[in-house]
């Protein structure tokens, strides 16, 4: 576990800190996330998700839920427990290795790719991206949403509906 925290701790800390400005709240959230990683570890299937992707998904969901609570937005319905991690058969072609992921990113329109980097790498909120790029907030939201859907379609298309997962090269 110590090695797991050593390897993935900075990833989780980064995901949380990009969304949670309060230092102490962020530390508490990281503790909650690793608790959930422990509870959910039995559901991790390396054929479906890389280890980093699996932990990142838990961290993102927790951080986004925390933000929604802070903003007093209604809680989103939780995904069904058993389908939290998509089953290979039910979600054909989601697995990907790093090269495949980067290839999909490169095939997105330039502007969408730029927004992906600002959002996923630099952790900017949509409002911050809108401020930085001068684009209307609505355009940023739409481009990111459609970009994500498009990226999934590209990955699924490339795999012929049954993408070969290679999680070792992703984490």
């Amino acid at each position: 576990m110590k090695q797991c925290i050593d390897v993935h701790g900075p990833l989780v800390w980064g995901i949380v800190r990009r969304r949670v400005k309060d230092h102490f709240a962020a530390e508490d959230l990281v503790q909650e996330i690793f608790t959930e990683v422990w509870k959910s570890s039995g559901r991790h299937d390396p054929a479906i998700a890389s280890e980093g992707g699996f932990i990142s998904m838990i961290a993102r969901r927790r951080a986004i839920d925390w933000l929604r609570r802070q903003q007093r937005l209604p809680e989103m319905e939780s995904l069904p427990e058993k389908s939290e991690i998509p089953a290979e058969a039910s979600v054909p072609g989601l697995g990907m290795d790093r090269d495949t992921l980067w290839a999909a990113l490169q095939r997105l329109p330039d502007e969408t790719r730029r927004l992906f980097v600002l959002h996923f790498e630099k952790g900017m909120t949509h409002a911050e991206i809108a401020e930085l790029t001068g684009q209307p907030l609505g355009s940023v939201k739409t481009r990111l949403r459609r970009g994500l859907i498009e990226a999934r379609a590209l990955l699924q298309r490339d795999s012929g509906g049954g993408m070969n997962l290679n999680p070792d090269s992703l984490s």
């Binding site: 576990m1 230092h23 998904m57 989103m76 989601l94 980067w102 790498e121 630099k122």
Partner: protein
């Protein structure tokens, strides 16, 4: 209707649904008899893991130890390939249980904050890296003419602290202070070093630096006054203090 749900579901994954869209998502999910698509969650997570890992900030000093203070991994159970990747395997359950037990004991209740104070962490950093030297802050003008203190920063640990004095206390609801790290080798734009407050009635305050991106060779540290929550790019309308190497 399905494509609208798909777009809203991507919004759910990206965390950008407002109250109206959340309600619409719930309504459409009910009408269509579907729920959120975990494949979008996972794709976003894989993107974030892949894109942000190299620039992920180091965890605060001591946090990893507090998460898992005493776990020793059995050699046979921990599968650590040569490239240092860690496999979340069967060991993780009991190991995490031991870890969390330690965590609960350490925390000693929900209200206690076991975190070391910023000045203790600063002192620990200085002990660990004897070569680190404080870079003095110089105040600017007006209310900030008397601003002073110093900053220490470790490139290796991506960790640093400001010890500040003479900066007026702020009302976080009106404005906050924000640190910018100038690193010309990295980018023309300064890196956000975190938003912070100066409490009233304290002569000297130690503030941990919260760099959002990896800083390789800082040339200067600049404190500005910004709107609550800070900004992505500072217009530097109110510069409080500067520390130059």
């Amino acid at each position: 209707m399905l494509s609208r749900f798909e777009e809203l579901d991507a919004g759910r994954v990206l965390g950008d649904l407002d109250a109206e869209e959340s309600a619409e998502w719930s309504e459409l999910a009910q009408q269509l008899g579907v729920s959120g698509d975990a494949s979008l969650d996972l794709l976003a997570a894989e993107f974030e893991a892949a894109l942000s890992r190299e620039t992920a900030p180091a965890m605060p000093l001591g946090l990893a130890e507090r998460l898992c203070p005493v776990v020793e991994m059995p050699a046979k159970a921990a599968v650590v390939p040569e490239d240092s990747k860690v496999v979340v395997g069967p060991w993780i359950g009991w190991a995490a249980a031991a870890c969390l037990l330690g965590l609960l004991v350490f925390r000693g209740g929900d209200t206690e904050k076991p975190t070391l104070s910023a000045d203790s962490r600063r002192d620990a950093l200085l002990r660990q890296e004897a070569g680190l030297k404080g870079i003095p802050f110089a105040g600017t003008t007006g209310d900030f003419a008397k601003a002073g203190g110093e900053v220490v920063w470790s490139d290796g640990k991506q960790e640093g602290y400001m010890t500040l004095s003479g900066i007026p206390a702020n009302d976080p609801g009106q404005y906050q202070y924000q640190l910018w790290i100038v690193d010309p080798d990295r980018d023309a734009l300064p890196v956000d070093g975190g938003v912070f407050d100066i409490p009233a009635g304290e002569g000297k305050v130690v503030i941990p630096i919260d760099s959002k991106l990896a800083v390789r060779k800082p040339a200067a540290f600049v404190i500005t006054r910004e709107k609550p929550g800070g900004v992505v790019k500072s217009a530097q309308e109110v510069v409080v203090a500067i520390a130059k190497l």
